[in-house]
């Protein structure tokens, strides 16, 4: 039982994949040598003028439209002022009262045992990234690399619509999958292309008013988000239950210790003294331009799910699972185009292939099984060249060698035995060698035939077609009676 209700909101920073930075022509390559991608604009030298990279606005618009946001007809940029050495200018160019977009919604599809839900998007706005600080162990100095300063970011803020850490986790998954469809970012959390902060508060169950929230930072994976939120629920619950208070503060997740810790404040009162960026003019978006970007949107998961159900006859669960990730859906469609039977192809992907991905912690494209190979495997089973049991072994061999299934079947001598003459002879040997089971069967214990079929399968090294083996054994047993 819990006397409190949890309220969670998320803040995601997405690096937009562009060739150049948001306000200058410096390249954005990841991992370049320190301070090799800077210029007077992104170093904040006096007298320079930032100019907006058109591509960042288009990419931002794409995301905003995919998140069903309303688009600001006339947007502008603001300066957010604070001192920190990763910020060369002493302010960050961001958006304040007229953000790129607002009031969107993200539909989170049903999971295996949890219903679908919707998360409202409060706003999504453009801003520039800061540089990177490297703290030297045991030194009184820090090193700064400004290559990242000025990389375009889209900040996406949700409404506090989530009630459990699991919902926050699923929201982030869905958001990432949607973003991957849009091809506007590599969404790589390890490279920092996708970063997430979480806001969490508790309130007495049934209360309308929100409780005092804490903000959690340093969340380097979606799993960290889930764990940090679960910890923070316990911490806040203990504080509130023992008559204490939750203090509005920023806390850092320590994944090693599994706790959140109070972060030293960056700026008292967080007074950023926003004011309009005088060096950037306003941007007015005509509805034709917005429509033009809308037309470039790919088919997104909800629409693709419906199509998979209609076109391929998949269940809503299968279709939803496959379309949640673009590369899974693309892989499935390539396999079907190469001749794979849709339902069987979907089963292979969701079964053995995804299991192998989890086991090896890789993506489906890393399994050395091109979609065309999977299609061949499906057809080999469909045409009864191999049994479905043999196909599982065949798939393992395919993943090991990267070969197509047909040559492998020949090389490994895996073909299913469907030649009734061969099976007839083997069945007779089995019947002769197992008098006990045979007499049981003849005495009316029909189940005994299962043991005999097993023996026959073993004799043929699993290559017999099981149905045929069953039929032939039955006829041999009848003859001998």
């Amino acid at each position: 039982m819990s006397a409190f209700e949890t309220v969670i909101g998320l803040e995601v920073h997405l690096q937009l994949a562009t060739r150049t930075k948001i306000f200058c022509g410096c390249p954005t390559l990841f991992g370049s040598s320190p301070n090799s991608q800077t210029c007077p604009v992104c170093l904040g030298l006096p007298g320079v003028l930032p100019v907006l990279n058109r591509r960042t606005l288009e990419s931002g618009l794409k995301v905003a439209l995919a998140l069903n946001c309303r688009i600001q007809p006339a947007l502008k940029f603001h300066r957010k002022n604070y001192f920190y050495p990763d910020l060369p200018k002493g302010f960050q160019i961001s958006q304040y009262d007229l953000p790129l977009s607002f009031e969107g919604v993200l539909e989170v599809p049903a999971a295996a045992e949890a219903p679908a839900f919707a998360v409202r998007i409060h706003r999504a706005h453009l801003e520039e990234d800061a540089g990177k600080l490297v703290h030297k162990e045991g030194s009184r100095a820090s090193l700064v690399d400004y290559n990242r300063a000025g990389i375009p970011l889209l900040e996406i803020v949700t409404e506090p619509d989530m009630r459990t850490p699991e919902e926050a986790y699923r929201c982030l998954q869905t958001l990432k999958h949607t973003l991957q469809y849009l091809d506007v970012s590599d969404c790589d959390m390890e490279k920092g292309s996708l970063r997430c902060d979480a806001n969490i508060s508790l309130r007495p169950a049934g209360a309308k008013e929100l409780g005092v929230k804490t903000e959690i930072k340093n969340l380097n994976s979606f799993k960290h988000v889930r764990n940090a939120l679960a910890y923070e629920i316990r911490r806040q619950q203990e504080a509130l239950s023992s008559g204490g208070k939750v203090i509005q503060e920023t806390r850092l997740w320590d994944d090693v210790k599994g706790v959140t810790l109070l972060m030293r404040s960056k700026e008292f009162a967080h007074d950023y003294r926003y004011f309009p960026e005088p060096d950037l003019v306003p941007f007015v978006l005509q509805s034709e331009e917005i429509q033009a970007v809308r037309r470039t949107l790919p088919e997104l998961p909800p629409a693709r799910t419906r199509r998979f159900m209609e076109q391929y006859g998949l269940s809503s669960y299968d279709a939803g699972r496959l379309t949640s990730e673009k590369q899974l859906a693309d892989y499935f469609e390539s396999a079907v185009q190469a001749g794979g039977v849709p339902k069987a192809t979907a089963n292979w992907i969701q079964g053995d292939l995804l299991a192998a991905c989890r086991e090896r912690n890789v993506e489906i494209l890393d399994l050395k099984v091109p979609a065309a190979h999977l299609a061949q495997l499906v057809l080999l089973v469909e045409h009864q060249t191999v049994s479905s049991r043999m196909a599982k072994d065949l798939l393992k061999a395919m993943m090991k060698t990267g070969e197509a299934p047909e040559p492998l079947v020949k090389r490994l001598g895996m073909s299913q035995v469907t030649d009734s003459g061969t099976l007839q002879a083997a069945a007779q040997t089995v019947v002769q060698g197992n008098p006990k089971a045979v007499s049981d069967y003849r005495a009316g214990k029909r189940q005994a035939i299962k043991f005999l079929v097993g023996q026959l399968m073993a004799r043929t090294k699993g290559q017999a077609n099981p149905e045929l083996a069953h039929r032939i054994l039955e006829s041999v047993l009848k003859e001998g009676a």
Binding site: T18, Q37, N53, R54, L133, H135, K136, D145, Y146, F283
Partner: protein, 97 residues
């Protein structure tokens, strides 16, 4: 419009300015004068005027997503008071628990 000495201290702290008491007193008086002058704008009727953040009638100034060569690292670091290898060197700042 009031601009108290406490506010001067607060803004100075945000801007990392270290001011003497005498300066704070002087700036408080001067800022009050400036603000009351600007405050005259409030006497204007602006109901029919759309808000503006810009004095120049321009909008939608973009650049193409094309790379312009960056500064040479040596040049980028040439104004830095301190450096270490290819990095700018700053007093230790760390946000931790």
């Amino acid at each position: 419009m009031a601009f108290e000495e406490s506010e001067v201290r607060y803004v100075a702290a945000l801007a990392r300015l270290s001011l003497t008491d005498e300066e704070i007193h002087r700036f408080s008086t001067q800022l009050k004068q400036i603000l009351s002058y600007v405050d005259k704008l409030n006497q204007l009727k602006t109901d029919d005027i759309s808000p503006t953040s810009h004095g120049i009638p321009m909008q939608n100034v973009f650049r193409k997503d094309e790379v312009i060569p960056s500064l040479d690292v040596e040049k980028a670091l040439s104004n830095a008071p301190a450096r270490e290898g290819p990095f700018f060197l700053v007093p230790r700042v760390i946000e931790d628990a």
